[in-house]
């Protein structure tokens, strides 16, 4: 099989010499869908780079990393875009990523100094409910109330994992007890975000785990002001989405140029209304007015990348124990 790998490598190298260089970016599926940022980003970058930008979509952030591990150093990807802060430690461990040269003045809720990954957007996880709903103000109140929630399974969904880490960072050793208290509030656990959000919109639960930015979609795209994110006084868990350059890329300059482009005003102003997240750097024109109506958590929670794997495994065990009874 090694010979094959070498042969493919050679083949890839020869095609790369062809006139227009190709920059291959692996990302999650919803980034490249017609309704995601992909098409606009591709058009804008191709105007400046004299290259062919090709997005390849696979599932979500976690399956993106799994695919990269599957391909290893042989991967065709020049850039992987769409990992989040829960995955960067594992991604760095693969040794497949190269340091970037981007420096920018980020508008993130935490200071950013990762040598391998460049952030492009961020958001806070939050429960979304009807604006009129008398929602609990933290996890304990939620557990004591009869408010019903739909959440995602941390084993198959990124927001699900986000909630797991949210409860763990907010409550530490008492996380398991919190989950046990929540078990009668949980209507069901879904495979992914779409199913959960769909169930919520169908009226299956009072609240659903999503993002603080979710109501902005309903206001901007549907002129519907009936949804609101619920502020929790423990603080909200933060998701920062990043991109990184592969060490084995055959287009290092182009990859650097794209990472730099990610921090540009053009890229950043595409993000809010296509990915429905906050831009990593505030665009000059600011955010659409609907974003002013969103809740802004006072406290941002985030596990340092170095500790995330260990904490995640422990939190998952607790989650399974508390909810399997």
């Amino acid at each position: 099989m090694k010979y094959l790998a070498i042969a493919t490598g050679l083949f890839a190298a020869t095609t790369a010499v062809a006139e227009t260089p190709t920059l291959t970016i692996y990302t999650y599926d919803s980034f490249v869908s017609d309704w995601g940022p992909g098409p606009a980003v591709e058009e804008a970058f191709e105007k400046t780079c004299e290259c062919d930008l090709q997005f390849v979509g696979t599932g979500d952030g976690a399956s993106l990393l799994a695919r990269l591990r599957l391909e290893g150093a042989r991967t065709d990807a020049d850039i992987v875009l769409g990992l989040d802060t829960g995955l960067t430690a594992a991604a760095a461990e693969t040794g497949l990523f190269a340091p970037h040269s981007v420096s920018a003045d980020y508008d993130l809720p935490i200071a950013w100094d990762d040598p391998l990954f460049v952030p492009f957007d961020w958001g806070h996880f939050a429960f979304v409910a009807d604006a009129q709903f008398d929602a609990p103000g933290n996890f304990r109140e939620l557990a004591d109330s009869d408010t019903s929630i739909v959440i995602q399974d941390p084993r198959s969904s990124t927001p699900g994992l986000g909630l797991l880490m949210w409860v763990k960072t907010a409550h530490g050793d008492e996380a398991e007890e919190i989950w046990a208290g929540l078990s009668d509030n949980i209507v069901t656990v879904t495979k992914g975000w779409s199913e959960a959000y769909g169930l919520f919109l169908e009226g299956e639960s009072d609240m659903v785990l999503s993002y603080t930015t979710s109501p902005a979609y309903h206001i901007i795209a549907e002129d519907d002001r009936s949804k609101a994110a619920v502020p929790f006084d423990e603080g909200h868990y933060t998701q920062i989405e990043v991109a990184g350059k592969l060490a084995g890329t055959d287009q290092p300059e182009l990859a650097d140029a794209f990472l730099q482009f990610m921090t540009s005003d053009t890229f950043q102003s595409i993000i809010p209304t296509t990915n429905w997240m906050y831009p990593a750097i505030m665009p000059e024109a600011g955010l659409p007015a609907a974003f002013d109506t969103l809740i802004e958590p006072e406290k941002s929670l985030l596990v340092p990348a170095g500790k995330s794997v260990e904490l995640r495994d422990q939190a998952l065990e607790e989650w399974l124990r508390a909810l399997s009874q």
């Binding site: 094959l4 309704w35 656990v189 299956e204």
Partner: protein
Amino acid sequence: MAARAFAIRRGGPGFVAAALVAATILGPVAAVLWRAGGGGWPGPADWAALRFTLMQATLSTLISVALAVPAARALARRRFVGRRVLITALGAPFILPVIVAVLGLLAVFGRAGTLNTALDATGLPTVQIYGLHGVVLAHVFFNLPLATRIILQGWQSIPAERFRLAASLGMNAGQVMRHLELPMLRAVVPGALMVIFAICLSSFAVALTLGGGPRATTVELAIYQAFRFDFDLGRAAVLACIQLALVTVAAILALRVAQTGGFGAGLDRSLRRFDAETPALRLLDGTVLLLVALFLLTPMVAIVLRGGGAVLDLPGSVWRAAAVSLAVAAASTALTLALALPMALAALRRPMLEAVGLLGIAASPLVIGVGLFVLINPWADPTRLALAVTALVNAVMALPFALRVMTPQLIDIRSDFGRLCDSLGMSPRDQLRLVILPRLRRQIGFAAGLAAALSIGDLGVIALFADPDIATLPLQILRLMGAYRMTDAAGAGLLLLVLSLTVFWLLDQGGRADADA
């Protein structure tokens, strides 16, 4: 034993087809094992998942088939206006993408569904769908139609002459049951159980969504965790092997128990059931059909209502995806038939061959997808092959249904005409052309309809390989939902339902163009 006789001498192509199918399923699993450098031992949570999976699959299968028997009997012995439409419409749940069907089910049985709204309005306590019973309910919803069709075919395989003889002997419905219908059921039911057990075993999103939490963890979810969370390919592959082993054992048991009908030849005429013309039986059959139709069709109505507003304003990309799905379906249907026909013929001699076909639905889609990726990646860009791979996997997944539909009829054809063919010294080619294919047309039409509709509705493995520019309809529905566009997704879901049913109807009817039943 007439084993020498008949087109089964043409067993060669059947074994080639079976080998191809086995390679398509086991090759990727082996590739994942190879890539992992060996297997990984499942942990306690995985065993718990296995226990839950077995329990829900067994319950779902038994209930689906138990309900299918009276439903099929009612359909078999009643003639009424709209019967054919009803039979087609009842098949709808089976071909829907899981998430569309689940949302339809919840519109009826969910917390805010019609049932609970009605119960609430009349002051009765509401019912909770989430839990093991919800999982079983959903699986019955998906599989009752298939079980009904398989068993209905059994009823139709009893020659009309037998029922006439029974009538002239003055047999009542109970005696007809004992002498004609029970032997038929003994031959048909194990096969239905086997296929549905295999489907329920690899269920994932249904079990999780309606199961209400991690208690309802299935093996497929454990595989997801092993792959995405721990990147433990070895454990994922071993779990996939356990799943395959379970289905193989179930298949061997079922195929041993299943017997041939052996009613002898009839003149292939449609029948009138004199024994069932009492008012009590009419009432019974009417009630059964009404209940089944209510159970299966109300969620369909909900899907139509949810999607009706959006279906005409769908973005162009959804229509393009629909065209792609149709093309993929055409390819995979042709492939399914090309594999199923020789395999079904070969299975006359080696019934266990059908177990190979069953692997297709028992295999974990995730492991197959990953395995194919591992196999293809060194040679070619998997993204470019996404559609071809999707068509192949869809074909293999539809194969067990095609086999289950064709095999019992083939066995009957052999026992009825095998010796005649032999004594006439017909060549295998002539046997196929003059004897087998004309009598198998209805089954071929049904199998083709199923294969096409399943292919249109199934996400298959494309999500793992997706090319941003080419999507199938189920993938596009997922993308719409992922972009908050639930209304458009509902519209696309309705479009998919209409497309699948139309294609199914056309092919199924094509198979019975001149039949009067």
